[in-house]
Symmetry: C2
Subunit: 341 residues, 2 copies
DNA sequence: ATGAAAGCGCTAACAA
DNA sequence: TTGTTAGCGCTTTCAT
């Protein structure tokens, strides 16, 4: 039988420290919580005792007693197209890094709509997107847990969100292509279960319409954001009787795939085909032709999200916030005027 | 003003439920914990009360009282070469998914060696690798917290680990190339702060030596696993006076970069240059030439890791485990005998 | 500046 | 099968 002292649990408690330091547990607690009202002498004794006993406070007890809680749950929908995207990773990295420095615990949930995970012990929630899991958001909202949704704009005035203006981003891309003289402009969409992909499609359509260009069904190909589908989409578009002279692609990683297909077919980029991506994924720089794209400030979104929920948890912020950040057109080498222009 | 009951904390406690259901709190606790010894009638009353009051048990209180805790911390070193790698992502996805279905809370730490995060409230830890953060592992070990290290083999007999045989993987790759007739074989390494990259390098060298081939310093280029450095490495190798006829690359994403560089220089793959990658990254299928590679069973490693710590937490497993999984050679189209062979 | 003591919300003997 | 009760380890008044 293993001795009980050897088990997972901490055997040393605040009481042991107090005894050893010759003070009350309240004083130890004050030292732990950096209260200024502890005599230097005592603080040192306590610190020394903590060191000697190798004491680590129990998080559960602290949370239970204080009613506070520094756990931030990040919920990422379990869709491959989302999880593997540059978007999700960059968000994850930004959020993870900031949580680390703010000493927040980051609880990660790769959830599908049916996941019924334990959202009860958390202090705040960040949704990387909402895809078929609206009820999880509702659960959080009902309980008044600080929360923010990224990448979805909500009109409901009780939900905070941070989105970028995807409509405008698409508009910028298409306007740019039109400005170069293109009128046969195709669009490869992302997964339309995401609001972002929907809005990019809307932006594309609306811009064509506003500029008096017709919207061809053949020129719109829907995908799930995967490289595989991007490849198929590119092949379909380029073997059309009247292939487009420019393609606006809903993500950089798909745009890279399109570029490969075009190159393989012997087309020159950008002379024979202009391509605009979306994301500003650094790997778009390593392509054969560096990619013109729409940049989204992902790290900034991540940071804003964490800062917001942190402020709410700390009571420094009480209002619902709706942030819409602007995308930016990054012009590189994958676009030029069409031939015979 | 918002009523106080509406704040973040749960106001309804087990006591309220007990009162409403007309039973004791112990019975409520039993219902929560699915104890079979509750009369159906009572269970239903309790369940109904829970529903009506919208009661959610406090995780902190449960943990404090029971001394148990289902939090699994995943520590991923904050190195771009690691975090962005197919390796880390696949691991993250595997671990995240399994935690979700086992109802384990996944705490994510993107840590650098200096991060001094809160590892005290956790039930188990999984290290995605150890890079300059050995002391964090020691912290866990000292406290007898169930733990496993992935991708590093430890001789110390108190640490569980799951690794793949990188040496053998490298050997398989190089043997295969030699078997095809190559003798000018270069190696682009991963980041040598990782044991995996070191072992692959060792495997490469050792195989050459065993087969009586010389080890050329010019043929070994060290990188940090990034695509950018892979690109430079490829350029360096291919502009050598006696360029290699085959390159063994420590990751698929780098191998793809190498392929691009070669193609751009007008080389034919595999006729002019054979390439073997490492990972079995699905994106290696979409390249211009599908990549021959060494497959590592990442999802399996992830699952084994979670299953292991889960079993230890539940007391079903008590021994330290050392698992070494075998990699596998996946032959596709990026290799053939060298010219003039 | 410090200590005593009352919980925080729950689990787990133990008793009934 | 159910209830009573003593903690779990800490925070936080309230005195002193």
């Amino acid at each position: 039988m293993v001795k009980e002292e050897d088990t997972v649990k901490n055997r040393v408690s605040i009481r042991d420290v107090a005894k050893r330091a010759g003070v009350s547990i309240a004083t130890v607690s004050r030292v732990i919580n950096r209260s200024p009202s502890v005599k230097k002498k005592n603080r040192e004794k306590v610190l020394e005792a903590i060191r000697q006993l190798n004491f680590v406070p129990s998080v559960s007890a602290q949370r239970l007693a204080s009613g506070r809680n520094n756990v931030v749950a990040l919920i990422i929908p379990r869709y491959e197209g989302i999880f593997y995207s540059f978007y999700a990773l960059e968000l994850l990295r930004g959020i993870g890094t900031l949580c680390d420095s703010l000493k927040l615990d980051l609880l990660l949930h790769l959830a599908n709509g049916r996941s019924n995970f334990n959202l009860s012990g958390i202090g705040a929630a960040i949704f990387a997107d909402i895809i078929g899991n609206r009820h999880q958001l509702d659960f959080i909202l009902e309980r008044n847990i600080p929360c923010v949704v990224i990448n979805n704009y909500f009109n409901e005035d009780n939900v905070s969100c941070i989105a970028i203006d995807n409509f405008k981003g698409a508009q910028m891309a298409v306007e740019y292509l039109i400005g170069l003289g293109h009128f046969k402009i195709a669009h490869i969409t992302g997964d339309l279960v995401t609001q972002a992909a929907q809005q990019r499609l809307e932006g594309y359509k609306s811009t064509l319409k506003n500029r008096g260009l017709s919207i061809e069904d053949d020129y719109i190909i829907k995908t799930d954001y995967s490289r595989g589908q991007a490849l198929q989409a590119a092949e379909k578009l380029l073997s059309l009787k009247y292939p487009p002279t420019a393609i606006f692609v809903a993500s950089d990683s798909m745009a890279l795939e399109v570029m490969n297909v075009a190159l393989e077919k012997g087309l020159k980029i950008p002379q024979d085909l202009s391509i605009v991506g979306f994301d500003d994924n650094p790997s778009a720089l390593y392509g054969k032709v560096s990619l013109t794209t729409i940049k989204q400030p992902l790290i900034k979104m991540a940071e804003e999200a964490v800062k917001y929920v942190d402020a709410v948890m700390k009571g420094k912020e009480t209002s619902v916030k709706k942030m819409v950040l602007s995308p930016e057109l990054i012009i590189r080498d994958s676009c030029c005027p069409p031939k015979n222009f």
